[in-house]
Structure formats: structure tokens, C-alpha cells
């Protein structure tokens, strides 16, 4: 099967990388035998590769794996990992017992609350012979009642005083000055 120069050049990178199937590569090879221009393209591709020379390999430090594993399990976030991410992930990984502890605390708090309610209700006095003590549980309505009662007492006391004065007036005559003074008092 013959293929065109355009097709050859479009497939050239894959050809050089060994990514073509034999079905694709065979016609390429046949074409390259006859086509000088395409052979030049292949040559250029191989020249570029000769400029790609890797650095020497680096010796792995002794005990590297053990050190890294130890640091990872100790929650070390590393030098490049953003602190927030590392802490969050480390917390979720390093503390699997945390949810259990939180649930335990919640249950304990609920039990304590119920217990305190039970103790409070048990300590309150109960029965038919309960009596309120003087000065105890004094609310606004009771205060108003007491104030009303005091006002009534004062008015009755004043009226009794007036009655006594009238009785005295009836029994002995008075001067004008004494009458004026009584009027001021009232």
C-alpha cells in the first residue's frame, strides 16, 4: 500500500516512538526507502533525540524509605504540602478515635442531664402538709395586695383620729389658732 509524504510526516513522531502497529509501520518503511525528503525528516527527528541526554541518576540516601514512612505516620506535612490541607488530612487520618470520643462525651452529657433532673425532683418536698413560709416566694401580686392593705389601714386610722378630734371638739371650746393648726394637719 502506498502512502503520501503528508501521511508519512504526520505519522513520523509515532513511528519514531515505536507507537505504530506493524500494519501502519510497514508502508512507512516502504515509503522511506524511496523518498529522500521523508528520510531527511526521520533523520532530523533522530537528531533531536540525540540532544535529549538525561542527568546522571541520584543515589538514594540510606534508610530513605523508613524515614519517609516514619515522618508520614508522625503527621509531618512535608515541605511543600500546604499546611491547611496537611493538618486536615492528618487529623482525619491520625485520629480515627476522635469520632468515638465525641459520641462518648455526648452520651455522658445526656446521662448527666437526666440524672440531675432526677435528683432535683427527688429533693423537692411533696405531700399535702406543705406550708409557705413568711417572706418566702414573694411575687408582684402579693406585693400589690400588701400595699392595698396598708393603704386601707392608714385610711381607717385617719378616720378614727378625725372621729376622736370631733369628739374632743364637742366636749371643750377651741381658739381660732388651734382650729387653723388642725386644718393644716389634716
Amino acid at each position: 500500500m502506498n502512502i503520501s509524504c503528508d501521511n508519512v510526516r504526520s505519522l513520523l513522531p509515532s513511528y519514531l516512538d515505536g507507537e505504530l502497529s506493524e500494519e501502519q509501520a510497514a508502508p512507512m518503511r516502504a515509503h522511506l526507502i524511496d523518498c529522500h525528503a521523508c528520510r531527511e525528516s526521520v533523520h532530523e527527528g533522530t537528531v533531536v533525540r540525540r540532544w535529549l541526554v538525561p542527568r546522571d541518576e541520584i543515589a538514594i540516601p540510606q534508610g530513605f524509605a523508613a524515614r519517609v514512612a516514619r515522618r508520614a505516620f508522625a503527621g509531618d506535612p512535608g515541605l511543600l504540602v500546604p499546611a491547611g490541607d496537611a493538618e486536615a488530612q492528618s487529623a482525619s487520618r491520625g485520629a480515627p478515635i476522635l469520632p468515638f470520643v465525641l459520641k462518648l462525651c455526648a452520651v455522658a452529657a445526656a446521662v448527666l442531664f437526666c440524672l440531675s433532673l432526677a435528683i432535683q425532683s427527688a429533693s423537692l418536698p411533696s405531700g399535702d402538709d406543705l406550708e409557705a413560709k413568711d417572706g418566702y416566694f414573694f411575687d408582684d401580686i402579693e406585693a400589690q395586695d400588701l400595699e392595698s392593705q396598708s393603704a386601707i389601714d392608714l385610711r381607717s386610722k385617719a378616720s378614727r383620729k378625725v372621729e376622736r378630734r370631733q369628739a374632743l371638739d364637742a366636749s371643750e371650746p377651741r381658739t381660732d389658732e388651734e382650729s387653723a393648726a388642725d386644718g393644716d394637719d389634716e
Binding site: D6, N7, R9, S10, L11, L12, P13, S14, D17, E19, S41, E44, G45, V47, V48, R49, R50, W51, L52, V53, P54, R55, D56, E57, I58, A59, I60, P61, F64, A65, A66, V68, A69, R70, R71, A72, F73, D76, P77, G78, L79, L80, V81, D85, A86, Q89, S90, R93
Partner: protein, 216 residues
């Protein structure tokens, strides 16, 4: 370093992951021992010193541990771990202010995605797209390997990170297109187009940095 085998002892990895999640530190240590060589090998392409490499690899594994409960077993553990390693390395470069990718253009634009038209692949021919019109000469045979490698990373530092990553995964880690697609979460067609543009950018960077190797 040999090619990445994407499904090594899947069940064992799964077991170790579950044991690690259950709090078994030794199981996690076994996982680290199993993959540390590959991750060191990958990360060295992003960092400039052994100390930086060690820091990034360490953070990769710590991140993996912190996210272990999100591992869905949909991909292999190695693919999942590689993804974390690449992201950690790129984060490191950004923090260090060494991310040269200030590409304002969408890297996918102007490159037809072969996955969208499998019958008529439209990837531009080598040497035409990506702004690399000039050809490049092979490294001088008198150059030491170390010197070529220095130029390699000098040029890699000049290209956007998504291009650098596909080049690293393909050329240094020898990953298959499908594995790269799984790792990066993109289609095979996108892998192809990114690789194409990455090589063009890489070649352009070398001819710009070292015009003596440009061939008119």
C-alpha cells in the same frame, strides 16, 4: 533506568495501600521502597541538585500518604504516584520561581489533534510547526555526555512545563503514549500533538541558545 512497567504487582500494591490505611507503617515503607528509585529517577529531571530531588521525592510520598484514602484503584498505583510526583515537582518549580512557562498561547492551539480525525492525521510535518524552522545538527562528538546533558536541561528549562513533562516522560522515562495519557489525564491524540510541539520547541530552544548547532 528501564521503562516504566505500569502494572507491577497490582494486587500487592492494593494490599499494601489498604494495610497502610489501616495504620501499618511498615506496609507504607514497603511501598516507598518499591517506588523510590523510579520517583527519584523522574524527579531528577525537574530539580537542580540532589538535595532538591530528595525534598521533592520525600514530599511526593508524604502527599501520597495523606491522599492515600482517595486512591480509587482505577489506575495503577504507580501511575497515581507518578502523577503526584510530577505535580509536586512542578509545584516546587513554581515556588522556587523557576517555572519558565510564561506561555500566553494555548499549547493545544494551532496543532490539529490527531485524535479528532484518526482517518486523516493532521499533525504538521517535523520542522514546520512550533516556530522551529531551522534544522539542528547532532551534538558534536567531542562534547562530553555531561556537557550535552547540561544543554539538554538548559533547553528544557526554556519550554513550557506541559511540553517539558511529555518530553521527560517519553524520552527519559520511556513511557508509552497510553500510559502518558493515563498519567496526564489526556487523550492519546493530545499526547501525540504535545510531543510533536515539545520536540519542535526543544529544537528551537537549542538553536536559539546555541546557534552554532543550527543548520540553515
Amino acid at each position: 533506568m528501564g521503562p516504566l512497567v505500569m502494572q507491577p504487582a497490582v494486587s500487592e500494591d492494593t494490599t499494601l495501600v489498604e494495610e497502610s490505611l489501616a495504620g501499618n507503617q511498615l506496609s507504607f515503607q514497603v511501598l516507598v521502597e518499591r517506588y523510590q528509585e523510579r520517583i527519584f529517577g523522574l524527579v531528577r529531571h525537574y530539580a537542580k541538585s540532589a538535595v532538591e530531588v530528595e525534598d521533592i521525592v520525600q514530599d511526593t510520598f508524604i502527599k501520597a500518604y495523606l491522599k492515600l484514602d482517595t486512591f480509587q484503584h482505577q489506575s495503577s498505583f504507580s501511575t497515581w504516584l507518578y502523577r503526584i510526583a510530577v505535580n509536586t515537582a512542578l509545584d516546587f518549580l513554581k515556588r522556587a520561581g523557576r517555572n519558565p512557562v510564561r506561555a500566553v498561547e494555548d499549547p493545544e492551539v494551532a496543532v490539529a489533534d490527531p485524535s479528532r480525525s484518526s482517518s486523516t492525521p493532521t499533525t504538521p510535518p517535523v520542522g514546520v510547526a512550533g516556530g522551529a524552522a531551522r534544522s539542528i545538527a547532532a551534538p558534536d562528538s567531542r562534547l562530553e555526555r555531561e556537557e550535552v546533558s547540561r544543554i539538554t536541561y538548559e533547553a528544557l528549562d526554556e519550554i513550557p512545563e506541559i511540553f517539558r513533562t511529555v518530553l521527560i516522560l517519553r524520552e527519559f522515562e520511556e513511557m508509552a503514549y497510553q500510559d502518558m495519557a493515563n498519567l496526564l489525564g489526556i487523550s492519546i491524540g493530545t499526547v501525540e500533538s504535545r510531543l510533536f510541539r515539545a520536540r519542535a520547541r526543544f529544537k528551537d530552544a537549542i538553536t536559539r541558545l546555541h546557534p552554532e548547532y543550527a543548520v540553515e
